[in-house]
């Protein structure tokens, strides 16, 4: 008898989603789908607004990664103004973006995923949280909290507040950096590096215990996309796109990201509010690709900062071509955190970082603008069209998490097929189905604050709707 298992909501991720697993007559998984169940409508509701509001308006898409939207949106607005923004403003925006990636990665790795890594996938769900981590490994939990706080503090020192700072504006930033604030940020660099390196050592010890998960957590060939510098180094703010295949071979390189519509199509799924972008030359759904930390580290020639480069060299030894298991998003995230801190220090030590020339002013000189940057979860596109008066006519935002939609679905199926069997649900096997989603760190936008208290219900249904089995949490 075929059955459907529903995991709703998926826990310890950012946003609302559910997973359905379909079993066949023999009790084997026949399909598994990842549904994003919330509808936002931002592209529609910005229509008619003055484009100068767009950075802060779109930042409200999310409370975890508002800075990513600020950056991509401000770049799209710079394109509308058609101005060259002052170099110091570029550096300040980069520091903000890196701090955002640092804090978001810390949240994903320590707060959301480290419970699985430290306590095991089958541990008691009541302990599988940051408090459970603190009880077993206080330093690990402290490092996580400290690193997230450090990133958030840099954001607050630059933008005035931790969440939704309005400091990034079309043409640059609204206020220059002061020396005392820079020194406060720099004072934490050495500590941050030590904590990340300590965590990297710990991760390298434990990931060996997760062989079955590494083999099955969205471990399949796909393309990888991200931005790189002209020299092929990791670039989060202003790079050109590079796409590599599963062997690590470059498929497309130094592609101007503003031409994204030529090679990225967006498919609409009937069972999810999340669109599924695909690589047009390969079509849908063969044009499956991944973005984010794992993709970025798979496609670069080198990271570009000394300590992160050392770690990356080791990471590259995992597999001969690209690292295909999404489990290693965790690893890549830690290396990127190291990169972020090193890069932040480099920018803050730049002699021009305190310059007060941080904004270019102009009237809108173009009616179409595209802004692209790397968000914690991958490449983020903001594409705007305005009228001659500067009012928004149309917007298209391709969100980092969306790029991974096809891969997440495929990953859910792969994990479910491997771990979910029979008619009796075991909590540990369903946790693995959720954990594969967590490796991607999807930001299904905002509202995670309530997630810890939300009950998770999984039902095993017969085709006629009869409840065969049920598991409740919370």
């Amino acid at each position: 008898m075929s059955q459907t298992i529903t995991i709703d909501p998926v826990t310890r991720i950012e946003g609302h989603s559910k997973i359905t697993i379909q079993l066949d007559d023999a009790g084997r998984v026949s399909s598994a789908r990842f549904h994003v169940t919330q509808f936002r409508g931002f592209e529609k509701l910005v229509e008619g607004r003055p484009f100068h509001e767009m950075p802060s308006l779109t930042a409200r898409v999310c409370g975890i990664c508002p800075v990513s939207h600020l950056i991509a949106s401000a770049k799209a607005c710079d394109a509308l103004l058609a101005v060259q923004i002052p170099p110091t403003a570029v550096m300040l925006r980069q520091v903000l973006n890196l701090a955002q990636i640092l804090q978001s990665h810390a949240l994903s790795f320590f707060h959301l995923s480290s419970p699985d890594l430290l306590l095991g996938m089958d541990a008691d769900p009541a302990n599988r949280n940051l408090f459970g981590v603190a009880a077993q490994n206080l330093d690990l939990a402290r490092d996580g909290i400290w690193l997230r706080q450090y990133g958030q503090e840099i954001i607050a020192l630059l933008g005035g507040k931790r969440i939704h700072p309005a400091w990034v504006v079309p043409g640059g930033v609204s206020n220059p950096l002061t020396a005392d604030r820079r020194d406060t940020m720099l004072a934490g660099v050495a500590d941050a590096i030590a904590r990340i390196e300590r965590t990297l050592e710990w991760y390298k010890e434990v990931f060996g215990h997760f062989d079955a998960e590494i083999r099955t957590f969205a471990n399949f060939p796909s393309l990888f996309m991200g931005t790189v510098t002209r020299d092929g180094e990791l670039e989060m703010y202003d790079g050109n796109l590079r796409i590599v295949d599963a062997t690590g071979r470059i498929v497309a390189d130094q592609v101007n990201p503003t031409t994204y519509a030529d090679f990225i199509g967006e498919a609409v799924e009937p069972d999810s509010y999340l669109k599924s972008p695909y690589y047009k030359p390969l079509g849908y759904p063969d044009g499956i690709y991944r973005v984010g930390p794992l993709a970025r580290l798979n496609l670069i020639d080198r990271v570009g900062t000394p300590l992160a480069d050392q770690e990356w060299a080791e990471f590259r030894m995992l597999e001969r071509g690209a690292t295909l298991s999404s489990f290693q998003y965790h690893y890549a995230r830690l290396i990127e955190m190291l990169f972020c801190v090193e890069k932040i220090a480099a920018f803050l030590n730049h002699p021009d970082i305190l310059s007060d020339h941080v904004r270019a002013r102009a009237e809108p000189n173009r009616t179409e603008g595209i802004g692209v940057s790397e968000a914690p979860r991958g490449t983020l596109f903001h594409h705007y069209k305005i009228d001659r008066k500067g009012l928004m006519l149309w917007a298209n935002m391709v969100i980092a998490t969306g790029h991974n939609s096809l891969a997440m679905n495929k990953g859910v199926y792969q994990v479910a097929r491997h771990f979910v069997r029979g008619e009796k649900i075991e909590e540990g096997m369903l946790n693995r189905v959720e954990a594969v989603i967590r490796t991607f760190d999807p930001c299904l936008s905002c509202s995670t604050h309530a997630f810890g208290q939300m009950p998770m219900r999984i039902q095993l249904l017969a085709p006629d709707g009869e409840v065969l089995d049920e598991v409740r949490q919370g």
Partner: protein, 241 residues
């Protein structure tokens, strides 16, 4: 409006305190002189009062009606109460209705943090709006080369209308329609950028209490306004007459 030119003194009580007032003094002016806070929104130092917003309503002993402090003159023996549960309830209701009538989305407004409506809501302890939002679809007029008018944030205080008429002398602004259909308009209800009478002085922008009128190119929370110039301008003009 011309006030009677007399300087006779009246004695009265505000919140139980004995005060002396000139005959041509309003209760609002008297309260401000004595350091008593009465919330205001449409009132603006330098232009005449119209008593439109009803936030400055006060209780006066002997009359069951609430009267606007900005339009009520001090009288001998009056006993005025500026703060009571009843008044607070009415003032909150006024703000509730203002917030629900248009799209006042503070978080993404150019005047976030510098807005009189927002400040008043905070001051009067508005934590939520008690009536359903109307969510009207209102246009943004960005036709002017320097400034933008966003009807979504307008509270119809008519400060722009008065300052343009009384100080600048252009009378570009006026209002049309009634009730929820009421709108601020420029010249003959045409795009602001095509209004010939506009001198582009920007006084209307500076006196607007919210983000309804703002300078072009301002991002969220960037629009701060300067209002100190008004009483000075008026004084200078009166001196010359």
């Amino acid at each position: 409006m011309k006030r009677p030119f007399k300087t006779r003194v009246r004695t009265l009580k505000i919140d139980g305190i004995d005060v002396g007032a000139r005959e041509d003094e309003t209760i609002l002016e008297l309260a401000q002189e004595n350091g008593i806070f009465i919330p205001t929104l449409c009132h603006l130092e330098g232009v005449h009062d119209i008593g439109a917003c009803r936030l400055c309503l006060v209780e006066i002993k002997g009359t069951s009606k609430l009267l606007p402090a900005c339009m009520t003159y001090a009288e001998e023996g009056m006993e005025v109460i500026t703060d009571s549960e009843r008044l607070t309830a009415y003032r909150r209701q006024v703000l509730d209705l203002l917030f629900s009538e248009r799209n006042h989305v503070c978080a993404v407004c150019v005047s976030n943090g510098h807005c009189e409506l927002q400040w008043l809501a905070e001051k009067l302890g508005i934590s939520h709006v008690g009536v359903p939002y109307l969510y009207p679809q209102l246009p943004v007029d960005a036709s002017h080369s320097f400034y933008t008018l966003d009807h979504n944030r307008c509270v119809l205080c008519a400060r722009c209308v008065r300052v343009c008429d009384e100080i600048e002398g252009a009378h570009t602004w006026d209002v049309t329609g009634r009730g929820v259909e009421c709108r601020v308009i420029s010249d003959l209800n045409q795009p602001w950028g095509t209004a010939d009478s506009c001198t582009r002085c920007g006084k209307c922008v500076q006196v607007c209490p919210t983000g309804a009128l703002f300078s072009k190119g301002k991002a969220v929370a960037e629009m701060t306004k300067r209002r100190e110039f008004l009483p000075y301008l008026q004084q200078m003009r009166e001196g010359r007459r």
